[in-house]
Subunit: 383 residues, 2 copies
Amino acid sequence: MFDEPVSDADNAGRAAAPGAGGTPRAARPPAARPARPATPRATGHSLDERKLAVLRAIVQDYVGTEEPVGSKALVERHNLGVSPATVRNDMATLEEDGYIQQPHTSAGRIPTDKGYRLFVDRLAEVKPMSPPERRAIRHFLDGAVDLDDVVARTVRLLAQLTRQVAVVQYPSLTRSTVRHVELVLLAPTKIMLVLITNTGRVEQRLVDCPSAVRESTLADLRVRLNARAGGRRFPDVPALVEDLPSSFEPADRPVVTTVLSTLFESLVEQNEERIMLAGTANLTRFGHDFPLTIQPVLEALEEQVVLLRLLGEAADGGMTVRIGRENEYEGLNSTSVVSVGYGSGDESVAKLGVIGPTRMDYPGTMGAVRAVARYVGQILAES
Amino acid sequence: MFDEPVSDADNAGRAAAPGAGGTPRAARPPAARPARPATPRATGHSLDERKLAVLRAIVQDYVGTEEPVGSKALVERHNLGVSPATVRNDMATLEEDGYIQQPHTSAGRIPTDKGYRLFVDRLAEVKPMSPPERRAIRHFLDGAVDLDDVVARTVRLLAQLTRQVAVVQYPSLTRSTVRHVELVLLAPTKIMLVLITNTGRVEQRLVDCPSAVRESTLADLRVRLNARAGGRRFPDVPALVEDLPSSFEPADRPVVTTVLSTLFESLVEQNEERIMLAGTANLTRFGHDFPLTIQPVLEALEEQVVLLRLLGEAADGGMTVRIGRENEYEGLNSTSVVSVGYGSGDESVAKLGVIGPTRMDYPGTMGAVRAVARYVGQILAES
DNA sequence: TTCTGGCACTCATCGGTGCAGAGTGCCAGC
DNA sequence: GCTGGCACTCTGCACCGATGAGTGCCAGAA
């Protein structure tokens, strides 16, 4: 039913659009709506400016109060310039179109997933962090001593800024390059393979060799491996070292191939795709109907696989917002996920994001997520 | 108010005590009670056998049903051989002594922290895992490929077995020995220091050198470092390599001392004291008065420091149970922590444990914790 | 055509009331 | 020292009616 979640380009949310200040980035074309999309206040219910303003007001109020918002309260708190009755008519239209809904007859309205979607796509601007906030972020992240620490600080920071659950993926190996490969002989047939990446990550593997290994062979292999693979991107490495075994004496080849295959294994993402999370305590602010909502979420958070998928779907380079049922995982049906890639230099090596109730402060969250991603990228690039 | 939590020796809970089957291990002397402690059914309320049986029954029932248990239900479900009226009298005594309490007048009784304490110390036996369970544990842990994986599997296993929150501390470095130290020249003044421990853990540090480093110096240092530190315990290492700088040419000494001091740093526990946890979703089974109880717990779980302290207090080699307010951290006032050390070989290198509601199945939990600790130890010793 | 004020209607919420049931404490008797 | 009986207490639940927020609709004004 819902269309693809939209990923807004990185420049969005700032540039206030050339002409009239209204619909900023055209992230998602207003298509998918049956009626003519172009002309503003057209037929039946192509939403005119005021209806959009009403929707925006509803979202804002509901996010703030957590209570269904009624027509009277709306006109009191926002100067819409019309009477409650008019607003009611607009609300009826919005409800008919599926943007808002009533928990029960004669209660106020709350936004639907579709309503939030529209809000995020067309009505909200990413709220930039204030200068003091930026300084704080910068300062907090600057203290990190190693990669683990960077990730740990990032995730805590993000959880604190957004007051929600934060998730940070460790920089993936696929985009990384090899800084150094080290081979250590632990026992006659046991080698420790240590792989150091340009992002400062270190991977180790134990290699069980088919036969005893001479130190000289190992030294030889070490030198050649580094000569060929050093500085290369992970995916390229296998092809580059493929022919290494043949340059060794036949007796040594089994060892060499064993080492290489272990190396390849550790180049593959798989268990590298680690994730760190923080802020689960913020889940308690979720709502009143608590245990029902929170349990599946906690379960989802325990499943690294689910989290990875969640982040993984984030489009490269842009911010992604998945709202409610747009999430494939059922347990997260009443949560939204805001995620974005981050990286050292110009390309994204991993994702980070925030998980919160669908009823969340999207502009603020998006701003925090974007800012943090940016700074982490800088930190990584520096180190 | 409460005395020290008791750590039962490892042999406990199996040996059914020589004579009459009743009070097994004398873990904690029955002192601390004002009245004469020795003679069994003496004055006023030194608890006789039956009162203890009643307390045991109350704990068991309450743990099962989560509801205050009344006298009638008690005699129906346990054959105590007396009438409800008698049980009521015993209950009155138990309440007077602070072992049980009434949520409100004319409700059943529930155990107090003190009651659980007595139960754990004198009334319960650690429930050994069944052979199939043991096999399952064994099998599950055997699949682990590296240390991270061992810890990850352990914590998940423990959470699953106990259906509570499991916590596993990474094997600490203090008790570890150095398997190998590797030095890699990344840039003229940048060295990557990699430390491999006997528990399979790898630590890396970036060393910024005051001046350019020659590869030959580095090789020299590498060889000498490993000769002296290899196989030694961490705390002993500094003394053993202290005089290394003097054996180098004066020009190289700054580099050598820099490397050494970085090495010493990473030998110190500090950020090595990592912890992994799992099973937070099990918190949802905590109780009805949910959000109030769960939030501080989630907060505590986010604080590595708190968790470390919690486990750290576990007595070496024995199992420790902290019940309710015995925990120093306020947020965990209504939870209990069962923890135990584990290690490769005969000594404990780290702790693991379980956090759950005070109303938990102590015998079962203790059995699971002990069994898992034992098997992890074996796995570590093998690798 | 669009907005507005008014009016009847619908429910959720909340305090009060009454009943049933579980559990206790106490007492007299075995 | 144990037991059966009895009166008492208190929670939980269902029911009731009043209250009030909020809606939908309609006729009239701009």
